[in-house]
């Protein structure tokens, strides 16, 4: 055994050497080129071994295969090897790349002899296209370990032979299943250099098969494009020199074969295409046959095929280059009826609420078949389907239609017995139902006040009007007054203002709608009592829950008919948009929904219990769909200082600006941009706040109202704390002082003008001698022969008032107080204005007509009578008319010292009362008029006569005074004694 094994091993070595030598020689012969023999020793060794091998084979009983022949199927890449005279059943086959002498296959195969031909045939599928390069094949017989000699080597020539110079690529245009592996080879044109291989857009690694052939193997290929997957080969210049296209796809996989009849005769089979094959084109697409008949119309997505007669069994075969798939179906005709669509739909009868629809069958067979049909009717409101059954059904009656409504109907049917599928829908038929009287409108009453309100009703919808509404009729009926008022309104009016004054406490409103088909049933409502928010109804808050306002209430016994919830914008005052909804009497909750709710608007919801007798308000809610921050700040924010406290007051934000339930107010102290919270007033009704114990300074306060959504922008007010009252007084005084100072200065500077204007210069009388005016007291001593007798005589009281005599001692007893003295008093006369105090003391005398001219003696109720005074010329002249008086002493005694003003009145004074004297005109002689007869330039003023006449005259004493006429009134006497004196001093610069 060992020797056999060794022998066999030796045979194998010899065989291998033989092959390699033969191939090498063959190769050189074949291609007429090659390298030099560089291994001569090894070649010699091989020849030696070959000789030994020949010796050994002569001893083997197995004959080598003869007549080895190669047949190639390049499309399938199959190599068929046939040989003869091989009496064995096992053979060794060797396949090599002819050019490179690389082993491709070395395999022992079992091949039986074909008895008819006496040949052995063995097929081999090459992974590499057979065109790529030449293959060398040889065979030997094997019987166990005994082998024959190798057959002569057969070569399958490739397309890379030198005489085939073009670039090529293989395989080309093959169709393979997804996921398969494929080897592509590129034969480079003679004279060019191989560059690269690309599969799709991917550079792939290549293997060299021959001098000109390079191959690459792609594994697990994905589906290709409709035009196939490109594999290209480029040269060293990156120019495409050859390419191939491979189509990678799937075999067909249809499903759901269903055959049915539409006319009770023929067959229509349908199936779904199933998986995409990714294969297109005449040669690669899928072809279908049904029961052996081609289905040329089965293309794309329209997978159907028909037969003229019902067979009962059907087989569908789907086939493409990658394979085929079979589907079968079997059924009785009656179980696969799918009627065609009815035709010629008509409406024989159409009414307001129903109509009949008829149709025809194109195939008469359906007239004898129990059918089930669906009628689909579509209006602008909705679409519904009704089902009807019948033998040969071809007419149905549609019920529950809407009057004056356009309908579109279509019909489809199926077999009632062994229902299979609905048939096709017929073409639609349109018709319009007739009109009918409308339904009663939904009415409501909304009272603005006790007697004024509006009747409201909702427009009737298309489904309620049953035809074009032509108008509405409103009836106000008062059973108590037994009065009825009817109003007809056009169709576009949906409200009516009413006044129920003098209509009694119960007024019922009835509204009816009218269309061409008739009048609706009346809708009645009893006018509810007007109840504003403030009155005896609880008002709750209701929150919006996203879809509406959920309202719930306690059941009310009076709600025998229905509950009504109405709502409106709370801040609306006139012509408000009122909406309402009705809730069944057995419900105690509802969800108020409307498309007219807006954020930041307060709505008032009112729940009424309605009955035939009354409408009663039960409950009221306020709510916001969404609360927002107030849209404006608190109005009329004002601070009020109260000592060191400041009270802030403001008004409430108007309702339309609240935009949410005001939850309170926040008071801030504003410092620059920072707000310091002072108080949070959680009572929204409280609209004032006192900030206490503030120190002097300026403050800025901000008040913000807040809702659930937040605070408003805030109203700000400033206040400056100070002792402002004192400051105000001081400012006023200062202002007055300044004003007086200014006036004083002005007058002082313009004193000359003032003097000229108000106190013109009175020339002093030129007196002979030294008549200097002394500022002191003029003491007048009665001359011996001018005795002054003080007598008490009230007759002269009134005539002595002009000249005031002041006693040396200030008398205490002025007025009515009497002072008795017999001594001749030394009279003291002042040539200046008497002090105001003195004057005021004498005012009673001045006003007292009984006072004598010697007021200083008033205290003693005595008059000074100048008995010894010589009558001066100046006094005599004007008093000349007194001369004729028989009793001169009476005149003197009666007049005493008499200033000029009294000269004229002297004779009459005894006869005139003091009142008369006061009333005498000043211009004549009633007033004291100094220098009334003085003329500085008058000759009468010159001469000694003047000395004589004026000597001792009191007129000289007072002539330098700026004497204004005495006012006859009592108050007028003050001026010369006070203001004029001061003014005179001012003007004259005297102190």
């Amino acid at each position: 055994m060992n020797s056999m094994a060794n022998q066999d091993n030796g045979s194998a070595v010899v065989s291998r050497c033989h092959v390699s030598t033969a191939v090498a020689v063959n190769h050189r012969l074949h291609h007429l080129e090659g390298s030099n023999f560089t291994t001569m020793p090894s070649l010699f060794f091989c020849i030696l071994l070959l000789g030994l091998r020949v010796t050994e084979s002569q001893a083997s009983a197995l004959a080598p295969p003869q007549e080895v022949r190669l047949d190639a199927d390049k499309e399938t890449q199959t190599l068929s090897v046939t040989w003869e005279d091989g009496h064995a059943s096992t053979f060794d086959v060797e396949i090599l790349l002819t050019e490179l002498m690389e082993m491709v296959l070395n395999e022992t195969v079992g091949v039986t002899e074909d008895q008819s031909t006496g040949k052995h045939q063995w097929n081999w599928t090459s992974p590499v296209p057979l065109e790529c390069t030449s293959l060398s094949v040889k065979v030997r017989s094997r019987d166990g370990q005994d082998v024959s000699e190798w057959s002569s080597q057969q070569i399958l020539p490739g397309l890379d032979l030198p005489d085939n110079t073009d670039s090529q690529m293989y395989p080309e245009g093959k169709t393979v299943p997804v996921g398969s592996n494929m080897t592509f080879c590129c034969i480079v044109e003679e004279g060019q250099q191989f560059g690269s291989l690309w599969y799709k857009d991917t550079l792939v690694k290549e293997n060299m098969l021959s001098r000109r052939t390079y191959a690459t193997t792609m594994t697990n290929q994905g589906p290709s494009n409709p035009s196939g997957t490109n594999v290209v080969c480029s040269n060293e210049k990156k120019m495409i020199i050859a390419g191939a296209v491979v189509f990678v796809g799937y075999p067909p996989l249809p499903s759901d074969l269903v055959c049915e009849t539409h006319d009770l005769i023929s067959v229509d089979c349908q199936w779904s295409k199933g998986r995409n094959t990714y294969l297109f084109g005449m040669t690669r697409q899928t072809y279908y046959t049904l029961n052996g008949r081609n289905c040329p119309k089965a293309r794309n997505s329209n997978m159907r095929c028909g037969l003229e007669h019902w067979d009962g069994n059907w087989t569908l075969v789907a086939r493409n280059l990658l394979g085929e798939f079979r589907l079968t179906d079997a059924a009785e005709l009656g179980h696969r009826v799918r009627p065609v669509a009815p035709v010629n739909l008509t409406t024989p009868e159409v009414y307001s609420w129903n109509a009949s629809v008829g149709w025809l069958w194109k195939d008469k067979g359906f007239e004898r078949l129990s059918l089930i049909c669906q009628v689909q009717r579509t209006s602008h409101l909705n679409s519904s389907t009704q089902t009807y059954t019948g033998y040969g059904l071809n007419t149905v009656v549609l019920k529950d239609l809407q009057p004056d409504e356009k309908y579109s109907v279509k019909v489809r049917c199926g077999s009632q017995k062994n229902f299979w599928k609905w048939g096709e829908w017929s073409l639609p038929l349109s018709f319009q139902t007739k009109m009918d009287r409308p339904v009663a409108p939904d009415i409501w009453l909304w009272m603005d006040s006790d007697n004024l309100g509006r009747v409201l009703w909702k427009p009737l919808t298309k489904s309620e009007s049953h035809g074009q509404i032509s108008g509405y009729e409103v009836i106000l009926w008062s059973p108590e007054e037994n009065s009825q008022q009817t109003l007809t309104l056009p169709q576009s009016v949906y409200s009516l203002p009413i006044n129920v004054t003098d209509r009694g406490s119960k007024v019922t409103v009835t509204v009816t709608a009218r269309n061409p088909a008739g009048v609706s049933l009346p809708a009645n409502v009893v006018i509810p009592r007007y109840l504003p928010d403030a009155e005896d109804t609880t008002i709750s808050k209701v929150a919006f829950n996203g879809s509406g306002f959920p309202l719930s209430w306690v059941a009310h016994a009076n709600a025998s008919c229905v509950y009504v919830v109405d709502w409106y914008n709370t801040s609306c005052t006139q012509d408000c948009n009122v909406e309402w909804t009705r809730v069944a009497a057995d419900n105690t909750n509802t969800m108020v929904q409307s498309g007219n709710f807006f954020a930041g608007v307060r709505y008032t919801f009112s729940l009424y219990a309605c009955s035939s007798e009354s409408t009663v308000l039960l409950e009221r809610w306020h709510g916001y769909m969404q609360e927002l921050v107030p849209s404006r700040t608190v109005p009329r924010l004002s601070p009020n200082q109260e000592g060191s406290d400041v009270q802030l007051t403001w008004d409430q934000i108007p309702l339309e600006h609240q935009r949410g339930f005001i939850l309170g107010y926040t008071v801030y102290l504003t410092n620059a941009s920072h707000l310091a919270l002072l108080a949070n007033i959680t009572d929204p009704q409280l609209t004032n706040h006192t900030v206490r114990n503030l120190v002097l300074g300026s403050y800025k306060f901000t008040v913000k109202a807040y809702t659930a959504a937040g605070e408003d922008g805030g109203a700000t007010v400033s206040i400056s704390l100070s002792y402002w009252l004192i400051m105000e007084i001081l400012v006023a005084l200062g202002t007055m002082t300044c004003l007086l100072i200014v006036i004083t200065i002005a007058c002082y500077r313009k004193r000359k003008w003032v003097k000229m204007a108000f106190y013109p210069e009175i020339p002093e009388p030129k007196l002979p001698g030294d008549w200097g005016i002394t500022q002191g007291t003029l003491d007048v001593k009665p001359s011996p022969h001018s005795m002054v007798h003080i007598v008490e005589d009230s007759v002269w009281d009134s005539s002595k008032e002009a000249l005031v005599t002041v006693p040396e001692e200030d008398e205490e007893g002025t007025g009515d107080e009497a002072a008795d003295t017999d001594e001749p008093a030394s009279l003291r006369y002042y040539n200046q204005v008497v002090e105001e105090g003195s004057s005021s003391q004498r005012r009673p005398h001045a006003s007292d007509s009984s006072a004598s001219s010697t007021g200083s003696m008033d205290s003693g109720h005595t008059d000074v009578t100048y008995t010894g005074i010589q009558t001066s010329a100046c006094s005599l002249a004007p008093m000349a008319h007194f001369q004729p008086q028989p009793d001169a002493s009476q005149c003197v005694g009666g007049g005493g010292y008499r200033p000029q003003m009294q000269s004229a009145s002297c004779p009459e004074e005894p006869h005139t009362g003091p009142e008369e004297h006061l009333q005498a005109p000043v211009g004549s002689f009633g007033g004291y008029q100094p220098q009334c007869s003085w003329k500085k330039d008058s000759p009468e003023a010159d001469g000694d006569g003047l000395d004589q006449t004026c000597l001792g005259s009191p007129t000289s004493v007072t002539s330098s005074q700026f004497l204004l006429p005495y006012d006859t009134s009592e108050e007028g006497e003050e001026h010369p004694s006070s203001a004029s004196t001061w003014f005179h001093n001012l003007l004259t610069g005297k102190p």
Binding site: M169, E172, G173, W198, K200, D201, S224, N225, P226, S227, G228, T229, N230, V232, M239, I240, I241, A242, G243, A244, V245, F280, G281, M282, T283, R299, N300
Partner: protein, 227 residues
Amino acid sequence: MSGHVKNMCPQLTISQAARTLISLLLVAAIDSVSAGVVCRKQPCGSSLQRSLKLTKLIHKESVDLLKTYKLSQGDMSELFCQMSINNVPDPNISGLDPSDRMLSIYSHCKAFLPHLKRVTEQQTDLQPPSSSLLSKLSTAHNRTNGLANQINCIYQTLFPNLPIPPEPVDGPTSVPPSQNVFQQKVYGCVVLKRFKEFLSRVTRELRTLKSQVCTRRTTFADTNALF
């Protein structure tokens, strides 16, 4: 970028509408001409102008056709047109005289027709039935046939004494024998590329011919009128 796209859309719409209108008019004209190849007597300038417009249209469509073709052939198809293929008509117009050059245009048009038809057939087996490439190929074939007929009429009008050879003067450019799929793709690309180049040359040539031939014809006519 979006703005750019927005601006482009109206232009595309207008151009497409205009193209459709022109196409309809031209197809109507082509049909009337190709039906019986009946040439109406038309002024030289107007007939050449008409052909020039048709050539411009086909050229414009050929650019789009080539782009569509490349997109339909899969990866690396951009390089297909660079490969050399025999038997595809040369885009160059030959001849020295206007008559020769016009005859060359005519013969080229006729030569391209079977190639366009072959490409259409080949692509029918490679593309889905809904592919726009097939309709564009068919359109190009029909319009090229119409252009050939127009050139024929112009040639007969301008050169009434010169017969049109029964075979194209440039020699037969028969369609290639059976090709594998890759060769078909390359072949189609080369055909369409040369077809586009040919139309570009025809446009220039017709413009030149219009200025040369029609002016000369007028001059000749005036000269004849003088005598």
